[in-house]
């Protein structure tokens, strides 16, 4: 069997955060891959929703994005933003929002709008449904590559709120429960219930604590005991490699 890639560990770790019978709004890319892995394993009754108006799709071909007809193949409902984002997410019945990000900071604030390097601003895709999901889902999982510049002390643009300024969500006027996990290709991060700051939960096999800390832009809280993230099972690997992303459209991203 091919060596296990860090993206595969990351995606399997993301999948395990999803629970059966949940309703999940998924962004395109790794969140979607993780969601399908969960649905094919421990969470067969999970309902994935796409912001464009899709419930419970079962794609057979890997899509290039949310606007690709492949993503909504064999869904049981096609509607629109108003239903998925309004009557589910804003209604408060979405258990998990599963997002990608350009940057996430120690309070779980997400930036998908712009980067600032040497004073130069570069714009990216903006929020789309990201702000809505981060504001309104009961809990938010972010999945992204672990790089120092992608995990800064404070995001260059606060597109989607986490625990802004370390404040509790209710105090911010937000309804959704806020950041729950950041899953990277090096580790799984949670949030301290008191301080609302990012806190290491588990290291992926093959990653050292030093590696994580050296590649994190903020002071990551490290509890006394840090678990090791379980490796993907043989069945999870088979599903990812043969069924969910056979062409490594998404899993090929990180070595």
């Amino acid at each position: 069997m091919r060596e296990i890639r860090s993206t595969e560990i990351m995606v399997a770790a993301g999948a395990r955060e999803l629970r059966d019978r949940e309703t999940v709004v998924v962004g395109i890319g790794l969140p979607q891959i993780a969601c399908f892995l969960a649905k094919s394993t421990h969470a067969p009754n999970l309902t994935p929703l796409l912001e464009i108006g899709v419930a419970n799709m079962r794609p057979k071909d890997t899509p290039v994005g949310l606007a690709d007809s492949r993503i909504f193949y064999r869904a049981t409902c096609w509607s629109g933003f108003l239903d998925v984002m309004g009557m589910n997410l804003h209604r408060g019945v979405v258990d998990t929002g599963f997002l990608g990000a350009l940057e996430v900071d120690r309070y779980g604030n997400i930036n998908t709008t712009l980067s600032k390097e040497n004073g130069k601003v570069r714009y990216f895709n903006g929020s789309a449904g990201g702000n809505d999901v981060a504001s309104l889902a009961k809990r938010v999982i972010t999945i992204m590559r672990h790089e120092k510049r992608k995990l800064p002390i404070a995001v260059a643009h606060l597109t989607s709120p986490g625990y802004v300024g370390g404040r509790p969500r209710a105090e911010l006027g937000l309804r959704g429960g806020g950041p729950h996990r950041i899953i990277t290709d090096k580790c799984a991060i949670g949030f301290n219930k008191e301080t609302h700051q990012a806190m290491l939960l588990s290291l992926h096999p093959g990653t050292s604590l030093e590696d994580v800390l050296a590649n994190t832009g903020f002071a990551l809280e490290v509890p006394k005991s840090v678990a090791t993230t379980p490796l993907p099972t043989a069945e999870e690997l088979r599903l990812l490699r043969e069924e969910i992303d056979p062409k490594s459209v998404y899993l090929g991203g990180v070595g």
């Binding site: 899709v54 007809s69 629109g80 933003f81 108003l82 804003h90 929020s127 789309a128």
Partner: protein, 294 residues
């Protein structure tokens, strides 16, 4: 179709029905460019190739979008570059907030509350920029809960690409509909671009599937492949090769003009454009499998 586009005044606010690389009103965007429209305001939930083209061609003065993407083909380079250069007025929203604003417009409500945007830089930038008059922090009169009130969004004219319409304007949309219904019904004028014209009888057989009824529609333009190179569920797939070619041009400011000259200004109409990109033979390769829809 040229007549419908000719009726769009310079400075008008147009709402476009596409999403990223799906059901974009490409033929309309091309014709707006050919007719040298200018100072347009464009609104769209998640901007795609059509809006990126209009910005790249310099037609847009103000952009009201929730995001923008060409999916894995790349970002909306023209839009992003215009923001970086400050060459247009830009209002950054979110998918749901724009949908709610169109919903308010469709319902004839001058405002609507939302729980998104709160505690974000999106809201702060709107308040400090050209969106200042579009948002207000309010409290629910019953619960006291904080909301952002948003002004209704009412395009002067909306262009929506649908799979099936009849000659009277009844429309069916196959696949997800993002904010199409709310945008269409918010707009003061509504133009439908239809992949296929079907008899009214088809709507009378399944009236539950009518998303936009005829009396709301000003004009139906029957123009197959009008969304190329973006995808139309059930009709054709996105044209990956052409999207790559587009992104190659759009990511370099000195090259987008070449694309516009070759494919838009260099073609008289959509038929010539389709010839230019490869004609019947190439289009045949994009046709959707009826079972898969792509």
């Amino acid at each position: 179709m040229p007549e419908v586009v000719a009726s769009v005044p310079n400075g008008a606010h147009i709402g476009l029905g596409g999403f990223a690389i799906a059901r974009n009103v490409i033929a309309i965007a091309h014709e707006l460019i050919r007719q040298n429209k200018h100072d347009l305001t464009v609104s769209q939930g998640v901007a795609g190739l059509d809006t990126d083209l209009l910005v790249g061609a310099g037609l847009v003065r103000r952009l009201i979008i929730g995001g923008g993407s060409l999916d894995r083909f790349g970002p909306v380079h023209n839009i992003n570059r215009a923001r970086e250069q400050g060459s247009l007025t830009f209002e950054d929203w979110t998918s749901l907030s724009l949908c709610f604003r169109y919903l308010a417009g469709a319902l004839g409500l001058s405002f609507i509350p939302i729980k998104s945007l709160i505690a974000s830089e999106i809201l702060e930038r709107l308040e400090q920029g050209s969106g200042a008059g579009e948002v207000a922090r309010i409290a629910c009169p019953f619960t006291g809960e904080p909301y952002v009130a948003m002004r209704a969004l009412v395009p002067d004219i909306a262009f929506i690409h649908v799979q099936k319409a009849d000659e009277e304007g009844n429309c069916r949309i196959d696949g997800p509909r993002w904010e199409n219904e709310e945008q269409a019904k918010a707009a003061k004028r509504l133009v439908i671009i239809a992949e296929e014209i079907v008899p009214t009888e088809a709507f009378q057989r399944e009236p539950e599937r009518t998303i936009i009824p005829a009396h709301r529609v000003e004009a139906v333009v029957h123009l197959p492949w009008a969304a190329h190179p973006t995808a139309v569920y059930g009709s054709y797939d996105y044209d990956g090769a052409h999207l790559k070619l587009y992104v190659e041009h759009s990511k370099r400011p000195e090259r987008i003009g070449d694309y516009i000259n070759a494919y838009i200004r260099g073609t008289k109409d959509h038929r010539e454009y389709l010839e230019k990109i490869g004609g019947e033979a190439h289009l045949a390769s994009l046709k959707a499998d009826p079972e898969l829809g792509y």
